[in-house]
């Protein structure tokens, strides 16, 4: 492999990747798996949805499944609730995340006092499994929930009121939970993108042109920032329209949202339901595409309005507007944070509750009885979850490092051209293509096997691992590697002895991201496991029907603690090994 010092860049070829030796196989393989899986999934969804399913003796194309799906009771309502919750959550999360930066950044508050505290605790919410947020929020908001119990201390309430804050018809509670989960994510993505814009000199210029800081930011920095975070925003939108586990807990129930409806149809032993399900899956894909188009249209409108506004030359926002906006954004930011943290607290309290009668604000007696009782049944799913998480994250890490190392060896352009492929599963309508993939996998007798679990998990774990690792990897000063090569080190030695130690912290972080993504995956696990392999994520949702808050509390808190432990370990492992030495500056 080591060809000495001479060819830092191979000579120009039609297919430069062919010159890279066996290492090139890894990125090719991972791209083939990602693209192949999405295409295979879509194919195996669309064919039955158009009436072609030889296994059921149907080989003529017709629209019967689509018609059956459309005639299915409550389907239209399910689509509307899905659209409302998914789009609303994305809008709220995006506005809130950008609003928080807009309020904190131009004043330089992002790094000081309250601003720093708000930002850090927001980022801590990212690590919280969304299932824990959903369960915690259900504990908070339900008619006998914590909020009512606290209110009961001041008002005369002695029985659970009759209202529907969770499982509401339009999916608003689901939208709220999604927004709590996605705001910190978009915030993190936007903060990291902000560093690439180099806004500071531009803002200085704006002020010398007479603009106040709070007017210059939305006019000049915001549009540039949005361009950089578009892809993640579309991924958030696709996720919101496809989410199943949170929707089972917080979404409407009769009819549920579209992904949950499809899951129920799949679980139906009547084979005809599977045709209806594939018809509904096709509608799900259409729904995601329609939402994408809608979003694209809204982007166009906003861009048009922004360009009109920027040429108008108004140097300041009206003071009242500025203060109202600031107050709203800060209040909403604190609200999201408090709801998120209170959800976790609720989950924790319920897990150690022994007796908690209705209007009381806190349990009368605490005990660890639930933990002890549940622990026996926990061992299996816990072991499955962890084994699966470590196996997929390990594979994903090796693949991501191979992709990035190949990029270094070939020169970035050839490798980066096709990089959007690596994120394909995050944009594809999850419910739709996974369902198709499950049909394909079960045709091959793969469902319920470890192989299928690894395969389905890798589709989502790899993109997140790559996303986390690629930016710091590319930001690493290439001169370190070149200097090492000039000192006689081969490419592999440079990788192991120079790049890996310098990238210790990002490597640890991306492993942690991979582990936590795998731990919380629900839909891929349910579909690949076919009920035969259970994990913490699937068990939690399955237990939700039992309504035992203590047991649910244990499951949700356990997952939260696992995620916290993983990120804690990653932070520790990312520290430099030698005392008294600073880690290299990571731009």
């Amino acid at each position: 492999m080591d060809r000495g010092l001479l060819p830092l860049r191979p000579t120009q070829r039609r297919w430069p990747i062919l010159g890279a030796g066996p290492l090139a196989l890894v990125p090719l393989a991972i791209q083939a798996i990602l693209v192949g899986s999405v295409c295979l999934g879509l194919l195996f969804l669309i064919l039955p949805a158009l009436g072609y399913l030889p296994a059921l003796g149907k080989s003529a194309f017709d629209f019967a499944p689509l018609r059956a799906a459309l005639a299915y009771p409550g389907l239209i309502a399910a689509m509307i609730a899905t659209l409302i919750s998914g789009v609303l959550a994305t809008v709220v999360a995006l506005l809130l995340a950008l609003g928080l930066i807009a309020v904190l950044d131009p004043l330089g508050l992002g790094d000081r006092g309250g601003g720093r505290w708000l930002r850090r605790s927001m980022l801590a919410l990212i690590a919280t499994p969304h299932i824990a947020i959903a369960i915690g929020l259900a504990f908070l908001l339900s008619p006998s929930g914590w909020l009512i119990r606290i209110a009961a201390q001041f008002l005369a309430i002695d029985q659970a009121p009759d209202y529907l804050l969770v499982n509401d018809r339009h999916g608003l509670a689901l939208a709220l939970a999604l927004a709590i989960k996605e705001t910190p994510f978009i915030l993190a993505v936007a903060l990291s993108a902000l560093r690439r814009i180099d806004a500071e000199p531009q803002l200085r210029l704006c002020r010398s042109l007479g603009y106040s800081a709070s007017a210059a930011w939305p006019k000049i920095v915001l549009p540039q920032l949005y361009r950089l975070i578009r892809m993640p925003v579309f991924a958030v939108l696709a996720y919101g329209l496809s989410v199943a586990d949170m929707a089972i807990i917080l979404g409407p129930s009769l009819p549920p949202t579209l992904p949950v409806l499809i899951l129920r149809l799949i679980a139906d032993p009547d084979l005809a339901s599977r045709l209806t399900a594939s018809g509904a899956g096709l509608l799900q894909i259409g729904l995601v595409l329609a939402a994408f188009l809608l979003w694209r249209g809204a982007e166009g409108l906003c861009a048009w309005a922004a360009h009109r506004a920027v040429t108008r030359g108004r140097r300041d926002l009206p003071t009242s507007l500025r203060w109202i906006a600031r107050l709203l954004i800060l209040a909403a930011g604190v609200g999201v944070l408090v709801l998120g943290l209170a959800s976790i607290a609720g989950v924790a309290v319920w897990s150690i509750t022994e007796v908690w009668r209705f209007p009381e604000a806190l349990p009368a007696r605490f005990s660890l009885a639930t933990w002890i009782r549940v622990f026996g049944g926990l061992a299996d799913p816990l072991w499955n979850s962890l084994a699966l998480a470590f196996a997929t994250s390990g594979i994903a890490m090796v693949a991501a490092v191979a992709c990035l190392e190949l990029e270094d060896r070939l020169g970035a352009v050839a490798a980066r051209r096709s990089q959007w492929i690596l994120f394909l599963p995050l944009f594809a309508p999850e419910m739709g293509f996974l369902f198709g993939l499950q049909i394909a996998a079960s045709a091959g007798g793969l469902t319920g096997t470890v192989g299928a679990m690894l395969w389905f998990h890798l589709l989502f774990v790899f993109p997140y691992v790559f996303l986390t690792l690629s930016e710091p990897w590319r930001a690493l000063d290439g001169r370190y590697a070149r200097a090492a090569r000039c000192l006689g080190a081969g490419r592999w030695r440079v990788l192991l002895r120079v790049k890996a130690p310098l990238l210790r912290a990002p490597l640890a972080l991306s492993l942690a991201v991979g582990l936590t993504v795998s731990l919380v995956l629900y839909l891929p696990t349910v579909l690949a496991g076919a009920g035969r392999i259970t994990t913490l994520a699937t068990e939690t949702v399955a237990l939700y029907g039992s309504g035992d808050r203590r047991v649910l509390g244990v499951y949700a808190l356990l997952q939260t603690m696992l995620a916290a432990a993983i990120f804690g370990a990653a932070i520790l492992a990312g520290r430099p090994r030698l005392f008294g030495r600073k880690p290299p500056a990571m731009p």
Binding site: R207, S208, I220, Q224, H307, V310, T311, R312, G313, R314
Partner: protein, 222 residues
Amino acid sequence: MTADSHTLEISNLVLSLQGRALFGPLSFTVEAALPTTVMGPSGCGKSSLLNWLIGMLPAAFAAEGRVSLDGRPIDRLPPEQRRLGILFQDDLLFPHLTVWENLAFAIPPRIKTRGDRRAVATAALREAGLVGLEDRDPATLSGGQRARVALLRVLLCEPMALLLDEPFNKLDEPLRRRFRATVFETARTRNLPVLMVTHDPADAVAAGGPLITLGDASLSEN
């Protein structure tokens, strides 16, 4: 455009970084006809001098002193009210806006309608010999065109003095000479006092005004 000539007056300026004085006390007056040049090795605080003037000195620095424009003290004003135009080393044309939108951003709001604002931008471009660039993406302009659009943008904001933070530094030699001449010529016809920070002696010669040299916490003026 403006017939009255302006004066920028700096008095008793002491600039320090983390308690260590970089220079000062420094007092000088910049007259419209005589572009003043500040030179000195890197780290002497010459760029910080400009940052202080526009009111955006980084928090690590401390400054004492006064600055007034036409006899009116401006050092307590927020940056956006000081009416000092500044050209940086980078042209900082906003990458997400077209050329005319970049210019319109600087045109004072008293020119109201979109049509009028566009006409002002077009006239300015024509005057600078940049006909037809209105709807171009700044990224597609040549280096010289970008530099001139950046200058136009500052001037359209109607500043009362012009600060130059090594704006010729990144241009190649022939272009640099031409652009330098354009800047000083424009400042002269508009009666703008010019304060330039540079490390290139040729810039100082072209400015043809007083030279202030900063360095080693000592100060010489000739």
